[in-house]
């Protein structure tokens, strides 16, 4: 079964600076999708960004971008111009193509300091 590892339990960043959250995964398959979800103190799980494994181009969504390294099985999230509202738990997730069992990492707690 695939596993997802987030090696940074906690991180902090100053407001307006850039921070990168790490994620690695383990699979022998080639068709899959990767996600970053944000969970603020409200507990709501919010989709941040999505990446298809067959696409070489890294996904971007406004201040959020990923560095997808398929050979290294690495999927990091970069947050630029960090804002106080970015304070949250961030979860990396993985799912095979045409599958329904999404696997999550344990999460990284990010604190943005004023």
């Amino acid at each position: 079964a695939q596993t997802v590892t987030q090696s940074q339990p906690e991180m902090s960043v100053q407001e307006a600076e850039t921070v990168t959250l790490s994620c690695t995964y383990d699979t022998s398959e080639s068709n899959y999708y990767l996600f970053w979800y944000k969970q603020p103190p409200s507990r709501q799980m919010i989709l941040v960004i999505r990446q298809e494994a067959y696409k070489q181009q890294n996904a971007t969504e406004n201040r959020f971008s990923v560095n997808f390294q398929k050979a290294a099985k690495s999927f990091s999230l970069k947050i630029s111009d960090s804002q106080l509202g970015d304070t949250a738990m961030y979860f990396c997730a993985f799912i095979f193509y045409n599958n329904n069992d999404m696997r999550f990492g344990a999460g990284t707690r990010l604190t943005v300091k004023p």
Binding site: V4, Y33, F35, Y37, S42, R43, Q44, M45, I46, L47, R50, F91, A93, I95, Y97, N98, N99, N100, D101, M102, F104, G105, A106, G107
Partner: protein, 114 residues
């Protein structure tokens, strides 16, 4: 936000009692999921449904059952609650016609089993 509601949002119960959690969606998505979130584990899939009356087990299905009699409702039942089922429970939805692999989450239900 996806039209997903969960009820109740909080529940305290005693060991051995039955508990039913409800997930309701207004998006007409075909797939519905139940996850539990525990510290250090991220989210883990309990059961999912791929249509009315069609369900399947996930990674941590022991002690749980589900039912789906209508497209919009997905019920999770703990037949006899145990303290190990104290957790936060999330419902999610997805649809094969709208990026099946991308799941959208409800607000969560916090369950405490005493």
């Amino acid at each position: 936000d996806a039209g997903i509601t969960q009820s109740p949002r909080h529940k305290v119960t005693e060991t051995g009692t039955p508990v039913t959690l409800r997930c309701h969606q207004t998006e007409n998505h075909r797939y519905m999921y139940w996850y539990r979130q525990d510290p250090g584990h991220g989210l883990r899939l309990i059961h999912y449904s791929y249509g009315v009356k069609d369900t399947d087990k996930g990674e941590v299905s022991d002690g749980y059952s589900v039912s789906r009699s209508k497209t919009e409702d997905f019920l999770l039942t703990l037949e006899s609650a145990t303290s190990s089922q104290t957790s936060v429970y999330f419902c999610a939805i997805s649809d094969p016609l709208r990026q099946q692999e991308t799941q959208y989450f409800g607000p969560g239900t916090r369950l405490l089993v005493l």
